[in-house]
Every structure is written in C-alpha cells, then in structure tokens.
C-alpha cells in the first residue's frame, strides 16, 4: 500500500510556522477496516475507509490542536488556528522536546495467518475454528474477523518525516452459556500485528479452557466478602498493572499532579518481585516503530524490582518535566489530541510455575478475566469486575464461584505481590481513557497477591 495524503502536510506545517508559531506538526492517518462476521451460514461484511489529519501547534507554553477530515477548507482553518496560537503563546521558545532529524519509512503489512496457511480461504480457517466447539454443544458462540490496514505519515517543522504502515488482524469471539439461572457471557480477542497469535492451536487452547469453566458455572455460588490470598490470571494480573502502574505513570497525570504516583520516582512502590516494561517494539497490538510524534520507540523500564524507575512521556510532557521522551506519544484517532499512553505493557515473568503458585496459596481465590476495571488516579483506589472466580482448596483449583468485584489500594496491593508465574501469555486488547480508545498489547504471567478484598 502507498500512502497518498490529499494535501501536502509539509506545506501546512510551514504555513503555520510562517504565521508565527514556534513548532508545528501534522499526522496523516489512513485506516481501512473490513469486518467479516458469520451468522448462520452466510457472511456479513462491513467496510470502512476513513482518513484525516491531526495538526498540532506550539508557541511558548500554548499548545493547540485541530483534527479534521474535511480538506476543502483545511488551509484556512490551519491559518486561523496558527494566528490564535501565536497570539496566545507569544514568540518564546516552543515548549516541546526537539526531535533529531530523520526520514524513514516502515511497512510491516505482512500477510496474515489466514493467507499463509489457508491460501486466503477464510472459510477454511473458520471450518477448522468451528470444530473446536464440537465437544461443547452447550456453548453458543459468535465470532468475527477484523482486518485493518493502518497507515500514518508524520511531518513536523523539525526536519522529520516518517511513514509507517501496518496491518492488524483480530479474531473476536463471544461465548455464551445459558442455564436455568441466566446466561454467562465471555468475550476474548486473538491476533495483533503478529499473525502467530491467530494460530489455531493458540486459539483452541484458550477457548477450550474457557468452555470448561463456563460448563461448570451453573453450579457456582457467591463467596462471602473477605480478604483472600488471591491468584490473578494473566488477564486480571495485567489489568491490575495496566490500571494502577500503567495509567499512574502517564506523563499528563504526573505533570498535572493528579496521579497517586507523582511523588514516588526512584522509590519502592511494589514488591521486589515486580518488573514492568512498556515496549512498543514487541509485535503485539501496541506495535509502533515510531510513535505519533515522530520519536523512535524503545522499551521503557517502569518498575525495576519494585522501584518506580521511569514515567512514560510524550515530547511535551518530557520537556515540561525536564526528562527524556520515551516514545509514548499516541493519537487515538486524527480527531483527538496526542497524549502519553501505554503501548505494549509487559509484566516480566518470575520463577514460579502455575502449579507451584496454586499449591503455595493453599486456600484462596483464582480470579478469571476482567470485564471492567476502574482506578481513581488521585487516590490509587481500584475496582475490577471479574467474569468469574475459581475457589482454591488444598492447593488445587476447585469449583467456579461468582465474584462481584476485586478492590483495593494500588500501593498496598502492589506491595502484596508474593509470586509471579514463569509463563507469559500475549493478547491484544483495547484501552479506553476519557473516551479515547487505543490498541495495546497485553503481555503478562499470572501472579499471586497475599491479601486482596474479593466479594
């Protein structure tokens, strides 16, 4: 695929600089999505083509933003915004971290697994996929394939230009088990920029495990609210770290003083077992060779053996805090302002096997995937709503239980991590913050928390 923006963004950026802003950049975003869904024996298809431009201007302390997909009046609108920006910001040095000059182009839009193994025959893949459910007749399922091609071109008033093209393949599955007392529904996603995550054996293992749990859910009972020794599954362990550490170290929250982690740099915030890395070079859903403001991405060690070693920054938050940018400037779409956001958040594996952790817990709760999680960033209080729990008795997984929620204080919970599993699993997921959704990679092992409130 070749990116051909409808207007020359370098000219737009230069116009803004000529009018008087100190710094301007523009990102052209092209997105083409095809969703194929099988209902009964027929296929439904929905196609989306959408592209637009995100333009940012900085003069002194002032930073203004414009996102548009209407190109008929873009020159006029950019000039109007530039005049407003230069008037408010004055002629001082633009407060944004300068980028080293470079020009590059990256294209990783490789064929997906369906093309490679089935010669493009999606129906053949689906026939194999549907065979997974032959042993699980009580489970009803729906699934869809989403194939996206995403292209970005970044230009700025610094001598920087890069283009990046990628494909993202997702298989979304929804499983439902109906019983006399109601229906239990679980959703999951596979894929990312790495087609290996769509391999049938990977998909089959997770679906089979989940179906087994669902089949036992009709005998599940609620548990008395209490603090339990708790084992968090891959999904729930990652969600805990993503909500507390991930959102807690994002540059804007630190800069505005709204994050509970703002004063904890170079201090212990978690148990010695915990190491957390944000790395967009890993081929998962949050992959980016360059971030959305032209910085080369790299791995950022956020938690180093329990110590908070680094925040994640865009160029602007890095400048204002006198730190180095970490390549985390991300746009959720061309319509919303750039923010420092997570990419692929990786929890480093520990030394414990899953069996060892469950045996060590003895009597406690295993928490399944999370449907919804929320953290109050100012205080660090978090709530996670799990899809199910499993009672641990005598060092073994016993019956499934209904769990309404898991809650606690972030710093206390992080310091209560006692054991981390030795095997990581990777899944694509979406992070929604203030209505702005981005794809992030979930890479985590299971972990054990000594003492966590479950009800």
């Amino acid at each position: 695929m070749e990116l051909v923006p409808p207007v020359n963004h370098s000219t737009l950026v230069q116009n803004a600089v000529d009018i008087g802003v100190g710094f301007a950049d523009a990102t052209y975003v092209y997105k083409e999505v095809t969703v194929r869904r099988k209902i009964g024996n027929s296929w439904k298809e929905k196609s989306t083509v959408d592209f637009g431009s995100a333009i940012r201007m900085v003069a002194g302390y002032t930073e203004n933003f414009m996102g548009t997909n209407k190109y008929s009046e873009i020159g006029h609108n950019v000039s109007r915004m530039a005049m407003k920006t230069s008037r408010n910001g004055g002629e001082g040095e633009p407060m944004i971290y300068p980028s080293p000059a470079h020009e590059s182009s990256v294209d990783i839009s490789a064929d997906n697994i369906v093309d490679k193994e089935y010669g493009g025959e999606i129906e053949a893949y689906c026939n194999d996929f549907e065979r997974i459910f032959e042993d699980h007749k009580e489970i009803t399922y729906r699934y869809e394939f989403e194939h996206s091609t995403i292209g970005r071109e970044y230009v700025s008033s610094d001598p920087v230009r890069n283009t990046q093209i990628m494909t993202l393949d997702l298989l979304k599955v929804e499983l439902t088990r109906r019983t006399a007392i109601g229906a239990t529904k679980l959703t999951m996603a596979f894929g990312g920029v790495n087609p290996l995550n769509l391999k049938l054996d990977v998909v089959e293992k997770k679906i089979t495990d989940t179906c087994d749990i669902l089949q036992r859910m009709d005998r599940a009972k609620s548990i008395p609210p209490a603090r339990y020794p708790t084992v968090l599954s891959t999904d729930s362990a990652w969600t805990l770290i993503h909500e507390t550490v991930g959102h807690g170290v994002e540059g804007e929250g630190i800069l505005n003083g709204t994050s509970f982690l703002r004063d904890f740099k170079n201090q212990m915030v978690a148990s010695l077992e915990l190491n957390v890395i944000d790395d967009s070079q890993v081929p998962s859903a949050g992959w980016n060779e360059f971030d959305d403001e032209g910085m080369k991405t790299k791995g950022t060690l956020i938690i180093d053996n329990g110590e908070l070693s680094q925040f994640i920054h865009s160029r602007r938050t890095a400048y204002l805090m006198e730190e180095q940018p970490t390549g985390n400037g991300r746009l959720s779409s061309y319509l919303s302002r750039l923010r420092s956001r997570q990419t692929n958040l990786i929890v480093e594996p520990g030394d414990w096997s899953e069996e060892e952790i469950i045996e060590y817990v003895g009597d406690g709760i295993y928490i399944g995937p999370i449907t919804h999680a929320q953290v109050t960033l100012s205080s660090g209080e978090f709530v996670m709503i799990p899809e199910y729990g499993i009672r641990i008795r005598d060092g073994e997984l016993a019956e499934p239980v209904f769990t309404q929620m898991v809650r606690g204080s972030s710093l206390e919970t992080l310091s209560n991590i006692e054991a981390i599993g030795d095997k990581v699993q990777a899944y694509p997921t979406m992070c929604n913050k203030n209505g702005r959704q981005i794809a992030v990679g979930m890479i985590s092992p299971i972990m054990m928390i000594r003492d966590l409130e479950v009800r």
């Binding site: 196609s47 414009m66 997909n69 190109y71 109050t376």
Partner: protein, 432 residues
C-alpha cells in the same frame, strides 16, 4: 460553504455514483457533519494560565446498498474518501447479504417528518465574541488552581434513500464547565433541539458560578481532615445520584429498577424536556421522539421491557437506542434546605461511582473526590478523598431524596440526568 450546503452536495455526489451502477436497486444514506471547538484554560496560582484550543471538524457517511432486491453491503466513509466509493461498489465479490441497521426505520415515512430549509443553520458570531469575555481572569483566582472549559458544538445530519425521502436537521450547543461543575447549560438552535435560550444572561450566570466555585476552592486550601468512621450523616450530591440514574436507565432491566426504588419515585426518559441537555425533536433515525416512563409504581405492569424511543449514532457506529434526559423525581424539599435542617454532616459534591452486584443486591461504590464537613450548621473543613459502599435499595429507601432537578452528564456516554440530593443516615454506609 455552510454545513447544510455541504451535506447536500455530498449526498448529490453519492447519488450520482449510485445511479451509474446498473445492478444497484436501492440505497440508504446517513450523512453527518460535526464541528466541535473546545477551549480549556487552566489557571495555576498567580495568574499564570495555560489556554488550549481543540477543534475537530469531521464529516462522514454510512451507506447501505441494495443489489437485486437484497441489502448486501455496508460502507462507512470519512467524507473525503468518497472517491473510493466508485471502485468499492463495483467490486463483484461484495455479494453477501447483511443485516441492515436501517431496517428499524420505516423510510417511506421519513418525508412526513422532514424539516427543510436553510434557516436552521444561520451562522452566529456569538461564540468568537463570547470567549474573551468569559475567560477573563477572576480577582480571587490568584491563590488557587482552577480550570474552565467552553465547548461549542454544531451538527448537521441528512438521512435519505432511493425514494428521495429526506430528513435534514441540525443543532448548536454551548456548554460551560467550571472546575468540573456544569454551569446552567444553554442551547441555541433551531430545528433539532427543543427550546432556544437567549445568551443575554449567559455571562452574568457564568461569572456568578465561577465566583462561587473560586470561593469554594480558596476554602479547600484549608487543611483537609480524614473521615475514618461512619459517624456522620452524608449529603450526597447530584454527581452521584445522576450517575446512578443514568447507569440504571441504560443497563438495567425494569424489574431490577423496581427493586431499587420505593414507590414514590419515578424514573422518566424525556427527549422533549424543554431546554434539556439531550433534547431532540427528531432522533438519528429520523423519527419523532417521545417520552418513555422507565419506572412508575402506578403503571409498573405496563413496562416489561426497557425501551427508548430515540436512537443515537455517529456515522461510525450503528444505530443504537439510548437515554436522552433521564429524570429521577419523587423527592421532597430542596437539597439546600437539608443543610439548614441538619447540623452536622459531610457534604459530597464530587465523586465517581460504580454499581456492582446482581439483582436486588446491587451496591454502589462511591469514590469521593470533593467533600466538606459541616458541624453545628457551620462549614468546618474540607475532607480528604475517601470511598464508601452503600446498598442501592437502602440508599433510596432509607435516604431522603430532594426534589431538585440538577443537570449532570458524562463526557464519555450520551445522555444527561436531572436528579437531586440524598440525605443518608450514618447507619446506611460503610467506609473503605
């Protein structure tokens, strides 16, 4: 070019392409054009401030195509990508049958409710002139950190089909949010939103609200105290009751709502509230809106299923039913009077809440971010953030609900609520 002319020419362009395709027998088109401008000013201490302008200008199309009597394809475009339309609709591989989200609409009736004419989109200079006046620095602001936001939104939509039925409508909206609190919201529109309001008193109201909030912020700089035990009654504000009403109305079935509210309460979704934040004459499917009663003890058996009469969408998303103005009424007196009658309590003005649990055991977790303590009728101290858990049924049955109708809404989800204050005895909640 004005919004209405732009979407008309877009529709014309699409129709020309579709007319040339021989095997296309029908189409349905939804065109949306939205311009939103947000100005945020953050004041930090001694009159230093950061002013940010954010503008989004977008237009898009949802198109469904009928070939040989079957609705087979569905497309979504950003407006500038119409040039791809021709090659896409000529592709022979796109022959699968699809569900059509338009199927809920009786398109043949659209023309009966059409609003036509350019008068709805008369440009106004008010916005540009208003900004500088509204955002002037306040005398008392030198010692507090403060943020204010002004949002201007204008939208035009067109819904049309191959029978040339057409609905054109549009709206304008001005909103001021001062330190997280929504000022009396003002609508200025013709056509789509009911009840135009004059901007004559807008600046006076804005200044008054801002002045009150600044005084509160100056007071909040006092050393906050920590609440450790459930010894004080709570006065819970509309930010919490509004969130509960919106979540219950959106996600829960009527039998659950029935378990939560005692019989004196009524929960209504009214898209035709005069001057309401989410008031619409026509919804996004082109149909005329009407009020729906979600809970009313007197008519409880009539409502077996949740149903909203109005649908909302963007060109990016399918048509989905959604709440408009949810009104929870059935209280007594005003919330301000509660503070006169009672002597010692904690007043919660800002909080985030989430509902957990199943069936009749629903609970609400309230993470309080702004509150203050009153002792012997006097405002004594601000309170540090704390969180409580309350059974929803007890909140409404043992708490005393006021009959205020104060507007709150969420940035992230459509819909607004008009709710009052709740006085909650100390025996009804638990601190975490």
């Amino acid at each position: 070019m004005r919004q209405i002319d732009e979407i008309r020419s877009t529709v014309d362009e699409i129709e020309r392409v579709l007319d040339r395709a021989n095997d296309i027998t029908g189409w349905k088109i939804y065109v949306q054009d939205v311009e939103m401008s947000t100005i945020t000013r953050v004041t930090q201490g001694s009159n230093t401030y950061d002013e940010q302008v954010e503008e989004s200008i977008e237009s898009g199309i949802e198109l469904k195509v009928e070939r040989e009597g079957e609705w087979v394809e569905e497309y979504i475009f950003g407006v500038s990508s119409i040039k791809n339309l021709k090659e896409m609709i000529q592709s022979p591989s796109r022959r699968q049958k699809i569900d059509s989200s338009f199927s809920e609409i009786d398109v043949s009736k659209l023309s009966r409710v059409s609003i036509k004419g350019d008068g709805y989109f008369v440009d106004t200079p008010i916005w540009e002139e208003m900004i500088d006046d509204l955002l002037e620095a306040h005398d008392s602001m030198q010692t507090v950190n403060f943020n204010e936001k002004l949002i201007f939104e204008k939208e035009a939509i067109a819904i049309t089909n191959h029978y040339s039925d057409v609905v054109l409508s549009g709206s304008r909206r001005y909103t001021a949010i001062i330190d997280g609190q929504i000022m009396e919201e003002s609508n200025y529109s013709q056509g789509r939103v009911i009840g135009s309001r004059s901007f004559e008193n807008f600046k006076e109201k804005f200044d008054l609200t801002k002045s009150e909030i600044v005084q509160q912020l100056v007071y909040m700089k006092n050393t906050p105290i920590k609440i450790l035990r459930e010894e004080m009654d709570l006065l819970i504000g509309p930010s919490v009751t509004g969130e509960i009403a919106r979540v219950l109305a959106t996600y829960f079935q009527p039998d659950v709502i029935r378990d939560v509210f005692p019989e004196q309460y009524t929960l209504i979704d009214n898209p035709r509230r005069v001057g309401g934040f989410y008031s619409y004459l026509l919804d996004d499917s082109g149909k005329s809106t009407k009020q729906s009663v979600l809970f009313d003890q007197r008519v409880r058996n009539r409502f077996k299923f949740r149903s909203f009469t109005q649908f909302f969408r963007s060109y990016r998303y399918n048509l989905t039913p959604h709440i408009s103005n949810v009104i929870l009424s059935g209280g007594i007196g005003s919330g301000e009077n509660f503070t006169e009658r009672k002597k010692s309590f904690v007043k919660i003005t800002n909080a985030e809440s989430s509902i957990i649990g199943l069936g009749s055991e629903l609970k609400v977790i309230i993470n309080v971010t702004e509150a203050d303590q009153w002792r012997n009728g006097i405002l004594s101290h601000p309170v540090r953030p704390f969180s409580i858990i309350v059974e929803l049924r007890r909140l409404f049955s043992e708490g005393t609900y006021s009959n205020d109708q104060i507007l709150t809404f969420s940035d992230q989800k459509p819909g607004a609520s008009y709710t009052g204050w709740i006085w909650l005895p100390s025996s009804c909640y638990k601190i975490h």
